[in-house]
Amino acid sequence: MTSTRVVVTGLGATSPVGGDVASTWSALLEGRSGVRQLTEEWAEPLGARIAAQVAVEPTEVLERVKARRLDRSGQLALVAAIEAWADAGFTGPAGEVDVDPERLAVAVASGIGGVTTLLSNYDNLLAAGPRRVSPLAIPMLMPNGPAAAVGLRFNAKAGVHTPVSACASGNESIALGVDLIRLGRADVVLVGGTEAAVHPLPMAAFGQMMALSKRNDDPAGASRPWDKGRDGFVLGEGAAVLVLESAEHAAARGARVYAEVAGAAITADSHDIAQPDPAGLGATRAMKRALVEGDLAAGDVLHINAHATSTPQGDVAEALAIRNALGDAAGGAVVTSTKSMTGHLLGAAGALESVATVLALHHRTVPGTINLTDPEDVGLDLADKTRDLPAGDIAALNNSFGFGGHNVAIAFRSA
């Protein structure tokens, strides 16, 4: 239904289970958890003392001066973007390679932005006065800081954006990237999300919402989507970036295509600021619209990377929404939640899970959901171990939902 086809030509990630895409993907296939106990002193008073921190510190990868001018969320975004850009076959910034800087855009999202920079500078302010607040505090803490750092690195001049829709942000950046290409405003867009909020304040706040798992003695077993023993999500951190490109631009430079972004749909519940619509109506509409936009039938969807964060209500509401969106074809899709291993990366979740969805189509393999020992009967084909996908033209969905009632579904078609 749209003339401009959008394809994925590069992938980058730094996650709780690996410092790049290859190590992240193999960890997901092996079912390895990135969740660990927080032994730091600040975690002692918290109810939830577990988190999924990145496997590789960004400061080990980035040059020191570059890193110290970025919030941790910016560091992670840059690490993922550097990998994605190189993976797409680019050896230098736009202008030096086959991309016009004025046709290169960026959409890198964040859920909470530079929260650790904000809080550490506030600590300095209280302890030592305004003179000890960093002159870099504003560019580091502003939510668009990571997107701007990525844009500067690759010389993006078609616009740099930061969609903010809580835990749907990563997917919303992909939807925005698709729009920019389809509207003819860019040929190539670096899209993704980043989050670095493992800090006592966000953890205390999510804890007060009763959103976090308190399975402190069993970190690897704490994130258990759809399992009857689930008791909340595990906070994760990391970043993922995808290179989106018009199919025409990709073909002209002979780029490798992982998958096509067939449809990207955004809806809002208008129900409650924090609770999902219990009937999942907004989520259902997002999935249905993504399929319509991509000229896909429900039966084409053979895989879904669900939002499923391991909360008691959310996982079940999403399953209902999937059944309502796909109807009789719902049982034909292998459904998984990679959050069982990575924890919940908030504003980076949709981006990381889109990388996993794209790789599932590319390799025809779905990573299983770990800890699914006593599953709820949700009427779906939940993958409790690695599963194969058939050859041929198939499609997959990636869902992300966020506080505020944001629902974003991305439909990918195999290349």
Binding site: E63, R64, V65, R68, R131, R132, P135, L136
Partner: protein, 80 residues
Amino acid sequence: MPSTDEIRADLADIVNEVAGIPADDVQLDKSFVDDLDVDSLSMVEVVVAAEEKFGVTIPDDEVKNLKTVGDAVSFIENRL
């Protein structure tokens, strides 16, 4: 009382930490902006770190007069 070169060396370490400039390049005749590529925000960081290191106060109005490393070293020397 540290010597001029000791102050320069300490300042060079600060510039290296903040801006990544090799400490050996931070010589008295070098301009922070034109030679060492220290931007305005990094200069604020250098000034605050120098205040802590040397126990002096460098008012904001003075910072614009500190064009070269030598200017900064002299300013600090005069206040120690």
